[in-house]
């Protein structure tokens, strides 16, 4: 399971009076009475060059506003560069000559945006940026208790204001603060976010500038529906802060199709086809905050809204963009059709429900009457991946004569995707769950997965080293490097033979099935059998 995330203490720095705060631009129009209500919730912090302000993966409850100086924000690992792959033996080399290969864990195209909890985002392959006066970082930690998404180290002598949630919420109601943040976002992140939408990649700078000017920055409360399935299309959206759940009604019930995060976009299919919305999109809160117990105001999800008029006006002159949008929409529809096929009406027994079997769209089952415990499935999994780590643990609950091992089920509601601070867990078009290699090892996904199907492994197991930057800080003794990374079964989706575990089972004991169809077909779904 994931490591614990102790919340950083909020005791260092100098407490600030409402009067002092009013001297700072973002507090200039904040009601003094509102500030008096929360004494001690704002502190002035001074950092010397090299000081670590926050570390990726750890818990946090505050946001930082940079008053002066600059800070380096980074994900402290080299990703695609310099990875030491598992050494290949003679047999593996011979196999490669004949086209036999292992699964390459890195499947992401370089150039992709890595979303972090700051007014800037990082580029895959670089993973570092500079924060300057006026920038804010740690907003998601402050509002939603999300783990820190990146490490921030002072680059020069810095002065920052550290704010707790209650005051940050007051700030969010301030027009000056909102205007400043919106301006910062438009200056530093919106361009990247728009370019991150594949269909806008090829837009010329003029068209992109037009989009930037025309888009609105809006915010919705977590839990609010952004649009319902069947609604007329009026805009497309890009997520600025927070997460959005995409769900759809099928004859067998509602399905959660995806959880989108900062930088992701939705709603363009309806615009392009001028057809009613084909899914419902809802703003969601961070799971840690939801589980917090104490009653609190729901967090806000901030969005970039591109109206249908703007969208049509800008893309009209770009047939290439229209073609790409069509392709993307087609893929999305196919993915939804596939999701619909997995639903069959059935009345699950209590035990089936308890085990969460029906969540599994590609559930792994091992027939224990056939299984000789040779462990070829786990060995095959390990052999099939270039990092040599098995995603399959041949242990788990039993149902009837089947073992349900710890391996991703491709859940209908992939709750593991909620709350990733760096957006590194995603669902592919063929419904697999995939963890990108910029995972910071915070363990939120592992904690969220109800079936222990996500494991954390030390980075050394992947043959990775920290970046020079992270090492330099480490030598001062102040940085705790990211030490783990999450892995999840990828269903061996790029292997033509399908999952290696099933392919390698000599006794036909291991199967990958759609749980509903399988249990229904086997007459097990409606039985109230207890575990053996």
């Amino acid at each position: 399971m994931g490591k614990s995330m102790p919340l950083a203490t909020f005791s260092e720095g100098q407490l600030m009076t409402p009067g002092e705060l009013r001297q700072i631009d973002i507090f200039s129009d904040v009601d003094e009475k509102a500030l008096l209500k929360y004494p001690g919730a704002v502190r002035k912090r001074k950092f010397a060059a090299g000081d670590v302000i926050c570390r990726e993966g750890e818990g946090g409850t505050s946001a930082f506003y940079i008053v002066s100086g600059s800070a380096r924000v980074f994900i402290g690992r080299r990703l695609d560069a310099g990875r030491q792959r598992r050494r290949k033996g003679l047999i593996a080399r011979v196999g490669e000559m004949f086209g036999q290969r292992r699964l390459d864990r890195v499947s992401h195209a370089p150039g992709k945006l890595v979303p972090i909890d700051a007014t800037v985002d990082l580029k895959y392959g670089d993973l570092a940026a500079t924060l300057t006066p006026g920038d804010v970082f740690g907003e998601m930690s402050c509002l939603n208790l999300a783990p820190r998404s990146a490490t921030v180290v002072a680059e020069s002598q810095c002065e920052m204001i550290e704010v707790l949630r209650n005051v940050y919420e007051v700030l969010q109601r301030s027009k000056t603060f909102k205007a400043l943040m919106d301006q910062k976002y438009r200056e530093r992140a919106l361009d990247n976010h728009l370019r991150n939408v594949p269909v806008f990649e090829s837009l010329d700078p003029v068209a992109l500038a037009e989009l930037k000017t025309a888009c609105e920055l809006i915010s919705v409360e977590a839990g609010a529906v952004i649009f319902n399935e069947g609604d007329p299309p009026d805009a497309m959206y890009i997520i600025r802060v927070g997460q959005v759940r995409v769900s759809k009604h099928f004859p067998g019930g509602e399905r959660q199709l995806a959880y989108l995060t900062r930088g992701d976009h939705f709603g363009e299919t309806g615009l392009l086809r001028n057809a009613p919305r084909n899914a419902t999109c809802t703003a969601v809160d961070h799971p840690i905050a939801e589980a917090g117990g104490r009653k609190r105001r729901p967090a806000r999800v901030e969005l970039v809204r591109l109206s249908s008029e703007t969208f049509e006006r800008v893309i009209r002159g770009y047939p290439d963009v229209i073609r790409r949008l069509e392709e993307a929409a087609e893929k999305r529809v196919l993915s939804q059709v596939r999701a619909a096929l997995t639903i069959l009406p059935s009345v699950p027994s209590k035990h089936v429900e308890d085990l969460g079997l029906l969540q599994g769209q590609n559930l792994m089952l091992i027939d224990l009457e056939k299984c000789t415990r040779c462990d070829q499935c786990a060995k095959a999994c390990s052999e099939a991946h270039d990092d040599g780590i098995s995603r399959l643990i041949r242990e788990g609950p039993r149902y009837d004569r089947f073992l349900v091992p710890s391996s991703c089920r491709m859940c209908m509601d992939p709750v593991c995707m909620i709350g990733c601070p760096v957006g590194s867990i995603r669902r592919t078009e063929d419904l697999n769950i995939f963890i990108e290699d910029w995972c910071v090892g915070c363990g939120v996904c592992a904690k969220q997965c109800p079936y222990n199907s996500i494991q954390l492994h030390p980075l050394e197991a992947f043959g990775e080293e920290a970046t020079t930057e992270a090492k330099r800080v480490a030598e001062t003794g102040e940085v705790v490097e990211v030490t783990e990374r999450a892995v999840v079964c990828d269903q061996c989706s790029s292997l033509p033979t399908g999952p290696a575990c099933v392919y390698a089972c000599p006794h036909d004991a291991a199967v990958r099935v759609n749980a509903r169809q399988f249990l229904h077909g086997a007459g097990l779904a409606g039985d109230d059998r207890s575990a053996l």
């Binding site: 047999i91 593996a92 196999g95 086209g99 036999q100 292992r102 224990l368 009457e369 056939k370 299984c371 000789t372 415990r373 462990d375 070829q376 060995k379 095959a380 052999e383 099939a384 643990i393 041949r394 242990e395 039993r398 004569r401 061996c492 292997l495 033509p496 033979t497 290696a500 392919y503 390698a504 089972c505 000599p506 006794h507 036909d508 575990a531 053996l532």
Partner: protein, 300 residues
């Protein structure tokens, strides 16, 4: 696959009989047909040996493991027939006799393996509900021992008995209650005066420690005896200690299951100790036999 093997087997037998009738004295290894049979058998042996190589690269797209295993079993059986036809079912010289011996041992051990793989998994499924990974067995057994000590310490403050010796009256009573069947009409043995927590400490010392250390004659190895001993222990302890005793009984049952798993898994894989090395020996000697026969025209 079975059909293919049967057709090949029947075809080879008919050819052998026809060739024997033509020659009047039966086919021999040195004839063209005999060499074909021998070559076929050797090729099958090489294919069978390739299964262990295939296991090293389970993700290679060279056929499903299940197909490989079926081929291994059925073609392996065919090879016995081919060797028989090749040698006219005669033992021959020292090398061919050794080859026959090895082939039969490998075949029989393989068939035993197939047989064991049919029913041991079922046994494991039903007899070991708390089955764990084979690699985890030792660690889990150790953890159970530590857990038992922890429970006794929690219940009594220490695991060490404070009385002298361990053949006290109380222990004898316990043992008697465990071994002696209840008298007719008697539902429960008469309850002795509770002497807890000393009773629990002594029980730990006399029964739990040998059991968790793996002493072969530990009474707790038998479920029936274990149930009787724990029932007797309950009568000698205060009700506050019963939840601890229940936990200990559960731990003992868990350990018995894990021991059963280890035993069954040893049986499940025991045939491999014979099958694998002898198979490699058979292959090596078969190649030697083929080379020497072709080069020198006789048995080596």
């Amino acid at each position: 696959m079975i059909r293919a093997v049967l057709i090949l087997g029947v075809g080879a037998t008919l050819l052998y009989l026809w060739d024997g009738a033509e020659r009047g004295h039966g086919s021999r290894g040195g004839t063209a047909l005999g060499l074909t049979f021998g070559g076929g058998a050797l090729a099958i042996m090489l294919f069978c040996a390739a299964l262990s190589l295939k296991r090293r690269v389970p993700h290679w797209r060279i056929g499903r493991a299940q197909a490989w295993l079926r081929g291994h079993v059925w073609f392996g059986l065919l090879s016995v027939l081919l060797v028989g036809l090749h040698s006219a079912f005669l033992a021959g010289g020292a090398l061919t006799f050794t080859l026959w011996l090895l082939l039969l041992t490998v075949t029989i051990s393989g068939l035993l393996g197939v047989l064991l793989q049919q029913f041991i998994p079922r046994l494991l499924l039903h007899a070991v509900p708390g089955e764990t990974l084979a690699q985890q067995l030792d660690r889990q057994l150790t953890n159970l021992r530590k857990l038992a000590e922890q429970i006794v310490t929690e219940a009594t403050g220490t695991v060490e008995p404070t009385g002298v010796g361990h053949t006290t009256t109380m222990v004898r009573e316990l043992a008697a209650a465990a071994y002696a069947p209840p008298a007719a009409g008697e539902v429960n043995p008469p309850a002795p005066t509770p002497v807890a927590p000393e009773a629990l400490r002594r029980f730990h010392h006399d029964y739990l420690v040998p059991f968790f250390r793996g002493t072969s004659a530990a009474p707790l190895l038998s479920r029936r005896r274990s149930d009787s001993l724990f029932a007797a222990l309950r009568t000698m302890t205060s009700p506050e200690q019963h939840p601890f005793i229940d936990e200990l009984a559960t731990l003992c049952e868990r350990r018995r299951q894990l021991l059963r798993q280890r035993r069954l898994m040893r049986i499940l894989f025991a045939w491999l100790i014979v099958h694998v090395p002898l198979s490699w020996g058979l292959l090596a000697l078969s190649i030697l036999h083929a080379v020497s026969a072709l080069r020198y025209g006789g048995d080596a």
